[in-house]
Symmetry: D2
C-alpha cells in the first residue's frame, strides 16, 4: 500500500501484513490486479487514469473529480482501456437502503412518484476542508444525488436548489452553504427532494422515503442501542450511530464484496464511472441553480 | 339519576338534562328499563339484586362484590330473574385490546401459549382507599384476570402470586402489597403472567402480549402525543395517557354501545355475571397463594 | 342553523336541539352572537362580510376565498367593522402539532432552520370537486402553508413548486396536479419544504419535522390502534387514522374552545383573517411558480 | 488450537494462522497463557481444572457443568490455584443490555422493583440435543438467570417455575418443557420474572425491562434492517436478528476484550466462577420447583 505520508502506510501495512510501496511501484507490479484509491479528491483522476493504463481493476472513492469535464475524460479513458471501475457510493450497500431497494424492485411501493432523502451530518467539517471540498453539493449532496438516481430509476432533467449558511456564518464567508433543499424533476414527472444540513445535534441523520402508487417504503436511522428510559419526562431512546464510519461500516464491507464478486465473475462493477459522472452533473446543476436562483435544466445526451 | 350525595347527582343531572331520584324511585319507575350501577363496591350486590327483582337490565362496575360467595349468590339471582347483566370490564372494549382479540380470533397468533400482561398505575391511591379495596388482587389485578381469561380462551386451574410492598411502606403496614407477579396455569399447559405495580413514574402502563404457535400479538400504550424531541441526549417521546379515564375513554363509550346493542337485539350482554365471578375466583386464589407461599388450585366446577 | 339544503339543517338541528333558520333570519337575530361558516368555498366571502356588518363574531372554514383580491377586501371589511374573525386552520390545534409548537417556543429545537411537512390524502376527491377546488395549492397545500408560516415564525419571500399529475391522469386532464414539492424560502435563509400527494395507499399521512440549531422536533401520524402482529414476515402495525375527520377530531374541538375563549376574554382570535390571506398568497405564488417553472417572489408589504 | 475432530481445528487454524495441538500439548506449553474452552458441556469441568493446574487464564462457555456439586468443586480448584476464570455469559456484553445496566447504575430507574426478561429462540434444537442439554432451565434459562442476578443486584432466595411442552410434543416426550414462566423472589421483595419459549415464528426475541422507583428501563430487540413498508395492510417492519450468532456478535467481541483487559490489568475477570455456580443454583431450583409444583427455596450460604 501507498500513502503520501509514508509512516501512515507503514502503520496500516504492519497491522494487516501488507507491504508499503510507491505509486510507481504499484503501477509497475504485474502481480497487483486491483487498485483501491482512497486518497484526497484531487488525486483521484490521475490515479484512475494511471491504473487504467496499467491494466488494473479500480475502486475509487467518490468523486472522480470536482471538475465535470475532467471526470468525463477519465471515464472515457477507463472505457477505452477496458478497465473495470467501481465508484464508492457506499450507501447503496447499506443493509437498510439495500433492503428498501429490493422491496422497491419487488413492486412493494408500486410505481415511484416522490422520493424524500434526509441527509444531515452531526457537525460541519473545518472551514479549511470546506474551502477545498467543492462545496456542499459536490461534497455531501453527491451521495444523495446517487441515491436519488438509483431509486428513481430515471435521470432527473431539472434541479432546483434553495440553500443558505445557517449553521455556521464562517461557512457562508467561505462561499458555501450548509443547509439545503434540492428538488429533482424527471421527464416522467417523478420527483425527489433532498434536504441537507451540515449539523444535527442528535447525530448523523440518514433517512429515505419512497412514495409510490402502491405505498411507501421508508428506511430510518440505525441507533446506538435499543434502550428506552421511561420516567416523568417521557421516554428517551438512543441517537443514530455517530457518523458515516459507524453507520456505514457494514456498507463498506458489502461494497467491497460486491466489487470483488463482480471482478471474479467478469461483470461490470456497479456503480461505475458513468454513475460517478451523472451524480456530478446533478451537483453542477445544483450549483448553477443556486447561483441563478432558477431551476437548472440538464442535457441527458452526454 | 341517584347519588348518596344528592348535590353530585344534581350537578350531573343538570348538565345532561337528566332527573334526580332516589334508588327506591328508580326501582319503582316502570319507564326506566336500564340501571347503571357505578357506586362504591359494597353497594353493588344489593343494587344488582334489587334491579334484577325490579325487572331492569343492569350494567354494574366491577367487582360484583369483594366476597366471592356473595357475588355468586347475586349472579344466581340474576339468572333466576332472567335479568340481563353486564359487568364493567371496560378493557375488553379498548380499541387496541379489541383489535388484538380480533386478530387472535383470526388465527394471527395461532394457538395461544403464553400471555403477558403489564398493568401499572401512575400512582397508588390513598392508604384509606387501599384498606377498603379488598387488596391489590381484588381491586386492581381483577381487570388483568379478566383480560387473561378473555384471551386464554380457557379458565386457569392454578394461580401463583409473588408480591411485596415496595412502592410505599404504608401499603405494607395496611396489610396489602403494591408490586406483584401472578402466574396463571391452564389444564392445557397455557400460561399467563401478570405483573402489577401501584406506581409507575412514567404513567399508566397497560400492555398485553400474546405469544402463540403462529406468532405474537402485542398491544401497547396509547401516548399523549406523537412528538419526538431529538438532541444530544437522544430522542424523547411522550408518556402514556395519564390514567384510566384518559386511556379508556373510548373503551367506556364502546362498552355502553355494546351493552345497548345487546339489549336491543335480546342477546346476553358480555362480559356478564359469570365473568365477574370467575375473575373474583382468580383474585381469591392469588390472595390464598400469597398467604401460603404456594400455588393455589382452582375448582372449576362451581 | 342554516343549510342551502334545508333537510340537512333540520336533521342536525333535531339531533342537537338547535333551530333552523334562513341566513337572513340569522343575520337579523340580535340574540345570535356568533356565526360559524362551514359552507362551500364560494359563499365564504359574502357570509363573512354580512356577518361582520351584522356585528357577529365569525368562525369561517378556510379559505376565505379562492380569489386573493376578494379575500383581502373581506379582511379589510372585517377590520373596519371591528368584527372578530377566526379562520379554520384546524391543524394548529391538533394535540401533536400543538405540542410541537410549544416545545419549539420553549427553545427545544433552538433557532429554526428547515421545516419538512408531509401531507398526503388517502385518496383523491372526484374530478368534479377538483375542478371547483382552485387546484391542489389553494385547496390542499393551503393547510401546509399555514403550518409552515406558523412554525417558521417568519413569512416566506419566495416559493418554488414542482408538481405533476401522477396518481390519476384525469386530474391532469382537469388542469390540476396531484403530487407536489413546494419549497418556501425566508429572508433569513430559513426554509420549509412541503410534499403533497392526493393519494397514499396507507392512509392519511400528516407529519412535520422542524430542524433547528438545537435539534429536531417531529410530529408523526396518529395510528388506528397500538397492536403489533409478529410473524415470519416481520412486524405489522396499524395505519394512520383514516382521514381528516378522524385525525383532526380533537383539533376541531380544541379549535372551537380557543375561539370561544378568545371571544370571552375579548382578545383577537387566532388564526385570523390576515393568516387566511397570507396562506392564500403562498398558494398563489405556488400556482405562479408552477406556471412559469421558476420561483415566485412574494411582496410582503400588503 | 484443539478440537476432538482434528480437521475442524485444522480448518480454523489455517484461516487464522494458528497452530493445531492436542490438549496435552496446550497444557504443557508454557508460552500459552490463556485457554478458551468452547467445547461440549461435559468436558468443561475437566478442562477448567486442567487449565487451572497448568497455570492458564481461562475463558469457558457456560455452563461450568450440568451437575451443581461438580461445578462447585471446579470453582474451588480455580480459587485454590489462583487461576483467573471468566464464564461466557455473553449477554452482559450486548451493547443494549450493557447500556441498560449503565443507566441502572446511574440511578435512572431508581431502586429496582421488578425485572421482566423475555427470551425466546426462533426454533427448538433437535430432540437429541435437548436430551443431553440438562433441560430448558440449565440450557437456555441459565442465561436469563445470569441477567436477572446481574440486574437485581441481589441473589434470589426463591424460585417458582411454571412450564409445559407446547411447541413440540416430542420435547415433552423427552422429559423436557419448551415454554416457561419463572418467578424469582429476593429477600428484599424485589422480583424478576422470566418467560421462555423454544420457538418464536418472528425470530430471536431477547428483551429486558427493569421497573424501579424512578422509572423503567427497557432494552429491545435488534432488527435486521430499518425499512418500513406502508400500504393498505398497515406498516410492516423487520424481524429481530435471526439468532444468537447475529444478535450477540458484538457481545462476543466485547466479552473477549473485557477478558483480555482484566488479565492485562491483573483484576478478576467478571462474570467468574461464582457467577457460573449461582446461575446453576437458580436453574436447579427451577427444576425442583417444576417437579414439586411449589416454589423452591435457595440456601445462599454456600
Amino acid at each position: 500500500m501507498s500513502d503520501v505520508y509514508r509512516p501512515a502506510a507503514e502503520e496500516v501495512a504492519a497491522a494487516y501484513g501488507a507491504e508499503v510501496a510507491t505509486v510507481d511501484q504499484i503501477m509497475a507490479d504485474s502481480t497487483i490486479d486491483i487498485v483501491m484509491i482512497c486518497s484526497v479528491t484531487d488525486t483521484h483522476a490521475d490515479l484512475i487514469e494511471r491504473s487504467a493504463h496499467a491494466g488494473k481493476a479500480i475502486f475509487c472513492e467518490k468523486p472522480i473529480d470536482l471538475d465535470l469535464d475532467r471526470a468525463k475524460s477519465v471515464v472515457r479513458i477507463v472505457q477505452e482501456t477496458g478497465a473495470k471501475l467501481m465508484v464508492g457510493f457506499n450507501r447503496r450497500f447499506d443493509p437498510s437502503f439495500a433492503t428498501l431497494k429490493n422491496q422497491l424492485e419487488n413492486g412493494d411501493a408500486g410505481s415511484v412518484e416522490l422520493i424524500t432523502i434526509v441527509s444531515r451530518d452531526p457537525g460541519a467539517p473545518p472551514v479549511d476542508y470546506i474551502e477545498g471540498s467543492g462545496g456542499l453539493f459536490r461534497d455531501m449532496t453527491i451521495h444523495d444525488f446517487d441515491m436519488a438516481r438509483w431509486l428513481l430509476g430515471e435521470d432527473p432533467i431539472q434541479v432546483y436548489a434553495a440553500a443558505a449558511a445557517l449553521t455556521d456564518p464562517d461557512i457562508g464567508k467561505a462561499g458555501d452553504v450548509d443547509t439545503a433543499v434540492v428538488t429533482l424533476t424527471c421527464a416522467s414527472g417523478r420527483m425527489a427532494v433532498i434536504t441537507n444540513s451540515r449539523r444535527a445535534t442528535y447525530g448523523y441523520d440518514q433517512r429515505i422515503e419512497v412514495h409510490g402508487s402502491g405505498g411507501m417504503l421508508s428506511a430510518g436511522n440505525v441507533l446506538e442501542h435499543t434502550v428506552g428510559r421511561y420516567n416523568g419526562d417521557g421516554v428517551t431512546t438512543a441517537k443514530p450511530l455517530f457518523f458515516f464510519l459507524e453507520r456505514y461500516a457494514q456498507a463498506y464491507r458489502n461494497e467491497l464484496s460486491v466489487f470483488i464478486d463482480a471482478l471474479k465473475s467478469g461483470s461490470e462493477p456497479s456503480p461505475g464511472g458513468a454513475d460517478g459522472v451523472r451524480s456530478l452533473v446533478l451537483a453542477e446543476a445544483a450549483v448553477e441553480s443556486l447561483r441563478t436562483g432558477s431551476p437548472a435544466r440538464i442535457e441527458l445526451i452526454e
